[in-house]
């Protein structure tokens, strides 16, 4: 009969209308600024620089090798290398970026910089609330803004960060063992040939390179 479908439809919408007041699970809206869903672990927005220790600038893992700058497809990274080495958070002497700028209005979030970095120094952030009133200077991030702690990295990408931390720790122990072996060998050589200073110079130079490799 004509009109029965309309009645059925009206009953359905009435059920929805009343149900939305009585049953909370019907209202799936997340009222964003006040409520928010937990961020997905493999979400990514723009890169940031990881630092260890307390001081964001001293503790940067970045050694200004400029691989990311060269690999970046839209060329949004600009690095100026420091002329001299400076002590890092552990007191070791290292090269550091004098300038590390990243223009997030150019960046296309491709993650290539993260993949090419040999030092696990640049990682993808998940922060998406980046609106700004200055569309030029506001989106050109300097190293002070880019530097974020390893703890933050572990918080936003727990699985990935755990894997990176384990690898870095393994590398460190391997480097320490190697340094110790070198030192022992050096001591043995030194005790064997005390009279020959030229022969002792070579292992000494080798030992000096170890801290750089550890980083």
């Amino acid at each position: 009969m004509l009109g029965t479908g309309i009645i059925k439809g009206l009953v359905e919408t009435a059920r929805n209308f009343l149900g939305s007041y009585t049953r909370q699970e019907r209202l799936v809206t997340v009222q964003y600024p006040e409520e928010r869903l937990p961020q997905k672990e493999n979400a990514r927005t723009f890169p940031f620089l990881v630092y260890d220790g307390e001081d964001p600038i001293k503790g940067l893992r970045c050694v200004a090798c400029q691989i990311c700058e060269k690999e970046c497809p839209p060329q949004c990274i600009y690095i100026v290398k420091d002329a001299v080495k400076k002590p890092d958070y552990a007191g070791k002497m290292q090269f550091q970026p004098k300038v590390f700028d990243l223009d997030i209005s150019v960046c296309m979030s491709c993650q290539i910089c993260v993949e090419v970095c040999p030092f696990d120094a640049i990682k993808m952030d998940t922060d998406f609330e980046l609106s700004n009133t200055d569309r030029f200077a506001g989106f050109l991030l300097h190293k002070e803004q880019l530097a974020k702690s390893n703890a933050y990295y572990s918080e936003i990408h727990p699985t990935e960060a755990a894997e990176v931390d384990a690898r870095l720790a393994a590398e460190k122990t391997r480097a320490e063992a190697k340094a110790q072996a070198n030192a022992e060998a050096k001591a043995r050589v030194a005790s064997d040939v005390k009279a020959k200073p030229a022969a002792a110079a070579a292992p000494k130079a080798e030992a000096q390179t170890v801290p750089a490799a550890q980083a």
Partner: protein, 392 residues
Amino acid sequence: MTNALDQLFVILKDWVVGWFPAGWQPFVGALLDAMAIVAVFATLFALTTWLERKGLGRMQNRYGPNRVGPFGLLQPLADGIKALTKEDLVPRAADPVVHFLAPLVLVVPVLLAYSVLPFGRNMVPLPGCDAGVLLFFAAGSATELAIFMAGWSSRNKYSLLGALRAIGQMLSYEVPLILSAVTVIMIVGSLSTEKIVAAQGVYHGWLPGWHVFTPWGFAGFLLFLVAATAESNRSPFDLPEAESELIAGYYVEYSGFKFALFFLGEYLGLFAVSGLAITLFLGGWQAPLSFLTWVPSWFWFFAKLLPFIALFIWLRGTLPRLRLDQLMNFAWKFMLPMALVNLVAAALWHWLGAGLARWLVSAALLAAAYLALGRAVSGAAKMPQRHYQLAD
């Protein structure tokens, strides 16, 4: 006391008018009426936009507006400020005079239609108008002109298509709209809205003698409701402004407050036609039960108007838009014959005299017509089997 409350606005108006010299009094009275109508129904329009967005949201399991003010109640105010501060664009190719006039031509006749609606006892803005219903329909028809002006002057194909659809739809549905109202005029024997309301002021026991409680009145009411929905371009008859097909139809080239005026005109038209439905079929300002007559009459008018608004929102949240051929089929193959049968039913009701016979005869006639016409219009069209030369 009860009487004073009932006549509160009439007394208030007479008191204000009394301050002016006798020669001015009719003009001041008319001005006061117009101001009251604009203030009350514009407020109701603002409230309805909020109710509609809230109601539709809840039907779709959303919250609806809830940011501006408590429960989003100040949302209409924010919308109004937005509409006022938007740039008023006129397309270079448009006819600027007609483009400017169209929203005014829409709103003014709609407001004119309010002049014959009885909002309460002794509360007709144009008292003693013998052709009230006729004036209402005449003013209501002028909106078609405004819509075509808007669609034509914009020089935009979407506008023009929307306007053409609007003209086709409104002309088609105006026929059943007026024919379903004619039944009431036949029975009451007057075009005056005041007399139509007075005729429904009788009570059978404590039940009201409204026209909707008769077979022809019930059928007429439903026909009037469907035709009124189509006349006011409400969903499911919103083809002229079909969002998904024509962007906004005839007012696609309007921005700023002219756009808001189209909205205002549309909603004011909806309230006016609901008010006429109340006047014709639901007893106007009469109380629904005989022991409730102490409640002020103007309260009953608005108490009847709000369910109408709720019903239109409910329908909009439920029904998908009709196709153009379905729309026309429904108007000419169902609505028009049904309205004509309803005229016959009303005539039989009058000539058979009081008794059970007239109930049975007119109800049976209308039910038979409904079933037969309904089957004819809703049955699937006999289409030959299609053969796809390339797909098979």
